[in-house]
Amino acid sequence: MNSTRYSRMLVALAAACLLWGSAASAQDQPAAKAKASSIQIAMVQSDEVKLPIEFQLALYENLVEQIQKTNKFQHVYRDGDKDAASAPDLVVLHSNVYGFKKGSEEKRQVTTVAGKTEIKVHVQATDKDGKAVVSQDVQGQVRFIGGNLRATLDFAKKVAQVLVNNFQ
């Protein structure tokens, strides 16, 4: 009697392990990559925090430059570009800054630990129907070498990498 109960328990445990294993392997498989031949970069917004105009423009310009460098898209359109309307499979990249800390280059160089500049941005790429294809938080920062605006380049490079990982 005892052995039957024991074997039943073993079977149940094995089944649970199998189920868990298959679920884990499904998660490990890379998600299907989205397809888009063109991307439009919307001007960076900052609804929650006050972002200096030079940071807003630097974020936007660095995004355009870094995404062009990836060669992932045939066309990289700027915000407001009329030609983007005729692009067949266009995605629009929206960036909204929700955290900003302007550090100090002087402090960084003198102390090497203080004065970090940090920008936190929610990035979303949407298709023509407005469906989010990519939605992620990305941080840009400068800890040691470089001026405060270098954080915008760090952010743009990370976003470009996110797009490379998520698009065919």
């Binding site: 105009i53 423009l57 630097a58 310009e61 700027r78 009329k82 280059e105 160089q109």
Partner: protein, 180 residues
Amino acid sequence: MKTRRVVADLFVAAVLIVGFGALAQPSFAQDASTNPRSFPETKVVIGLEGFKPHAKGTLSAENGELVFKKGKKKVEIPAASITDVLTGKDSERAIGGTVGTMTMFAPYGSGRFLSLFRNKVDTLSVEWADKSGGVHGAVFTMGQGTSWSAKGALLAQGAKTTVPLEKEIEEQTQPKGKKQ
């Protein structure tokens, strides 16, 4: 006798050098005052196609255009297409570029000491639309106290702004504690 002659020659040379210096100074000042629409020693921080970051040149506002020129290279932006011009204040390392970065690794903390020397600069941010409507942005740094004149000159050429110049001057001249 010979020594006296050499001393006299040196004296004359010194006077000539000082004289040239004194003459050159007012002529430069005259240049700046007679042409308030030209701003030499302006640096591109980002956003100007064809120019690398930190390229130093002359920004001018004339003939209905913003012109940035360095040597033979030139970028012209129609002032009418400029949708926003904003000024700001910042500071930059007195010793910049690669040399400035290298000094950070100088021994006995001398690099850190050198990084205490900083120059105050003005920033000028410009946003415009190209022919197909695409938005562009550029950031410049220029000598302290010159960005307001540059903004004024651009507005006079037909550029637009979201913050009037008077308001910016008022905000930036307020003591830090009073800023909102």
